[in-house]
Symmetry: C2
Subunit: 243 residues, 2 copies
């Protein structure tokens, strides 16, 4: 399993992904699930991936290969003219990998699905955020629900659903996303630290900050402890049910 | 889908279940999922059911039929000598129904699974709580994790995991369970109000209180609003991530 979240705010975009991959509970490894293509001053495109690792890695490899030594007129992640086109382009790569490997993998009754969150900004277009399905089609975020989650999304949903607002500051949004991760990490062993965080500030056309939250990260430890404490205090304030 | 929770506390047992049943989003109905057998002064046995409605209803019907006009020496829910035996007895009923209807239903590729939470007290035995699987086997609650959830359990898990303690008062436990329901109701349309709540006080050998929380229930509306407010306040107190 995997857990990835991204939010679109008025001030930019924030992304986070865990790093645990497993093929059974006795085969656990660490893999990066955040990928990006950045040409400062021109574009910053970020892609989060969940699902079958051989599918998601192939998609990333394909996208990277296309942009190396490409004909300057060819469409690649470094030349695609809009985020909508970038989403189509990633969707095409997903379809290509599934058509190549899908029949053999699915014949062995192994799930060969994956899902992706794509966000970023290209030139003067506003930042945009998409969720791309295993079939290559996609949806775009709106202000009503300004976030996307892929992978193990249920445990971390209630706090996002109550608190997420497009007007949040970037640091507030990261705090919220990390609380959502904390709830997920406590309940699903297949989601694991470290967590990769990536922050994009609107119109910067460059990455603002990339951070890896490790097991011993002071901020995350404090956040987790303070949140437990705050929840218990909040709980104690609510009227008891009359038995 | 369904959501049911039960907790075993030092002071007794609390149970809650939603009442929504659906066969597709265009076929939604209301069904009671809490059932009980109570002989004041002798036993109070409560059963919560989730899963295929034809399976769970047949199990309840079978258990009820067995206890009507039964030979006084026959084992029924009204005569079974311990909660462990009651769990075995329910497990046998589940196996019987699955063996009768399972092959035909599963041949139509329809899921014929169900799960159950069984709790109560018989005579001087302490109150016990079991989760019974579709295969008829079962597990018992312990103080480390003093609750069971069946059905749509993920959205409502984080708050239970952080707050549930066997030392809670019964009214505190109901408050906690209703918060867990509130998170679930917000995220999964197949879990719906009203919620049935049943409270058993240790050594009473009778039901303490049965309540149905309807859409316009003042306590539940206040709980939901106060909790949203308390969460937002708690969130605001936590240090922002440094971007």
């Amino acid at each position: 399993m995997t857990y990835c979240v991204a939010m679109r705010l008025n001030r930019g975009l924030v992304f986070a992904a865990d790093t645990r991959t497993n093929a059974g509970v006795d085969n656990v490894a660490r893999y990066r699930k955040i990928h990006f293509w950045c040409v400062p001053g021109d574009r910053a495109i970020i892609l989060l991936a969940a699902g079958n690792l051989s599918l998601t890695q192939s998609v990333i490899s394909l996208l990277n290969e296309q942009s190396i030594d490409a004909d300057p007129d060819a469409t690649t992640m470094l030349t695609v003219p809009s985020m909508y086109r970038a989403a189509r382009f990633v969707g095409d790569a997903v379809r290509e990998v599934r058509s190549l490997d899908g029949p053999a993998v699915e014949a062995a009754k192994t799930n060969f699905a994956g899902s992706f969150i794509l966000g970023g900004q290209i030139k003067s277009e506003p930042p945009r955020l998409f969720q791309i399905y295993a079939e290559g089609n996609f949806i775009e975020v709106t202000d009503d629900t300004p976030y996307f989650q892929i992978g193990e999304h249920k445990y971390g949903k209630p706090i996002l659903a109550r608190v997420a607002q497009p007007t949040m500051r970037l640091g507030e949004a990261v705090r919220l996303i990390l609380l959502s991760f904390d709830s997920t990490l406590r309940s699903n062993l297949s989601v694991g630290l470290p967590i990769d965080v990536l922050i994009y500030e609107r119109d910067s056309l460059d990455l603002r900050r990339e951070a890896r939250i490790e097991q011993d990260d002071e901020y995350f430890k404090n956040l987790s402890a303070s949140w437990s404490e705050a929840l218990r205090e909040a709980f104690a304030k609510i009227e008891e049910f009359d038995v």
